[in-house]
């Protein structure tokens, strides 16, 4: 097979796939008229397409299909017609995967014991060395809640906030004396702190992680919701869902888990 034939063969499959006709005056048509091998190849491809077209994908029964869909919809928990995420193997798989990812990301560097709560800015932490670092998120620095399609629950009952230094702004507890903040903080905090809103020295996801460790899931859900409004990724969406679920807000949790799937694929 010479070079021209090789080029023609490559072209023939694309032509067959596109359903386009070959212009009679084109070099391709002229070659096919002169080359029996390529002409046979063209017929073979047409025959193959014909054989493939002779099969038919079956179609579902219209009535039965719609009835089955509505039956499944009606089986969803009332009053919000939504599936429990653990009833969907796909969502369950996504949840498990995101959970594993979240655990991996939140792991501590070797030699550090208890997870450190969110604390001061990266630059302060690095410069501060072993000294305890105190930081706060001022109310003005918080992103607007209406960035979210579904607003997260109202944040943070005061009693469950970390120790506060002022009347409103929560202050993150000091690190344990002798602990190097640069190594004590989760790696992801170093990476994400820079993306936090100006004035906010701790990433929302770290607030979420902090509140979650404290067992304050409502606050954690709020913080993760804020993180999700800043950065829509499956990990944050899953954390948002997990905290929402733990706080009893199943509707929001299911939305978040569905979002994990959507962001995961497609």
């Amino acid at each position: 097979m010479n070079l021209v034939c090789t080029c023609v063969r490559r072209r023939l499959a694309a032509l067959a796939a596109s359903g386009a006709d070959i212009e009679p005056t084109s070099w391709l048509a002229r070659h096919l008229a002169a080359c029996s091998d390529c002409s046979r190849e063209r017929r073979a491809l047409a025959s193959l397409a014909g054989h493939l077209s002779s099969a038919r994908l079956p179609e579902p029964d219209e009535q039965a299909f719609a009835a089955a869909v509505w039956q499944k919809v009606d089986a969803l928990p009332a009053p919000i017609h939504r599936a429990a995420w653990w009833q969907s193997p796909g969502l369950l798989a996504a949840a498990a995967g995101a959970c594993a990812l979240a655990l991996w990301m939140a792991r501590e560097p070797a030699g550090v014991g208890v997870a450190a709560p969110p604390h001061g800015p990266v630059s302060t932490a690095r410069a501060g060395g072993a000294a305890g670092t105190v930081a706060s998120i001022s109310p003005a620095s918080r992103p607007k809640a209406d960035l979210l399609t579904t607003p997260p629950p109202a944040p943070v009952p005061q009693a469950k906030k970390p120790a506060t230094s002022g009347s409103r702004a929560p202050v993150i507890p000091k690190l344990r004396p002798g602990l190097n903040p640069a190594t004590a903080r989760p790696r992801r905090m170093l990476a994400s702190a820079g993306s936090a809103t100006a004035g906010s020295t701790v990433a929302w996801s770290d607030w979420g992680s902090y509140y979650e460790q404290k067992g304050d899931y409502r606050s954690a859900a709020y913080a993760y919701g804020m993180a999700h409004s800043e950065k829509r990724d499956p990990t944050t969406a899953f954390a948002y869902g997990r905290a929402s679920e733990a706080s009893g807000d199943l509707a929001s949790a299911m939305d978040r888990y569905a979002a994990v799937l959507e962001q995961d694929g497609g």
Partner: protein, 193 residues
């Protein structure tokens, strides 16, 4: 040379879909029933081409409609096309199905697409050869198998398939060509075609 139609597929009329999706989001079941009727065929055909099993495909297509319905409150008709949004759910559902199968049922499922359409090719191709051909189709990579089945056995246009898969039409043509070449190589030496 040739022209390729760039028309919107008949099953996807965006303005209608937007209104229907908005109504369905507000709780109008009859509007959602229209969407089910409109996209049932594509959802099922895609699922069957991807999963290769009728029962699983029906389940997957139904589940996708259920999941879409439950997620409707989050769908903004002004920001996204319902068809594209819905087909992404279908694709994810099928992907999950394949993932589960890998762990639970490693055996490859044969394609069930043997409902025969009348035509000269059907008459001339013996059953055993057709079976071999369909096994070869089933063994194609998913990226080639799905467009090939949707187009030739499902009667979907390239534009429809491109919309359903969320890729450009040129990609679909490339995948179809790749599938044809693979099958041609497979059967060329055996004189089956």
């Amino acid at each position: 040379m040739h022209t390729i139609a760039v028309t919107r597929p008949h099953w996807q009329t965006e303005s209608d879909d937007r209104a229907l999706a908005a109504a369905a989001r507000d709780g109008d079941r009859s509007a959602y029933a229209v969407l089910i009727a409109r996209y049932r065929g594509m959802a099922f055909a895609y699922s069957l081409a991807a999963l290769g099993n009728r029962e699983e495909a029906e389940d997957a297509a139904q589940d996708a409609f259920v999941q879409a319905y439950s997620a409707m409150p989050r769908f903004d008709p002004n920001r996204a096309e319902w068809a594209a949004w819905f087909m992404r759910i279908v694709r994810n559902r099928c992907r999950d199905g394949l993932r589960r199968r890998k762990t639970r049922r490693p055996a490859e499922m044969p394609l069930e697409i043997m409902d025969e359409a009348p035509g000269p090719e059907a008459v001339t191709m013996a059953d055993d050869r057709r079976r071999v051909l369909m096994q070869a189709v089933a063994a194609l990579p998913e990226a080639q198998r799905v467009p090939l089945l949707l187009h030739y056995a499902g009667g979907k246009t390239r534009v429809e398939i491109a919309h359903a898969l969320g890729v450009p039409e040129s990609t679909i043509i490339g995948r179809l060509a790749g599938g044809l070449k693979t099958l041609r190589r497979r059967f060329g030496g055996e004189g089956l075609i």
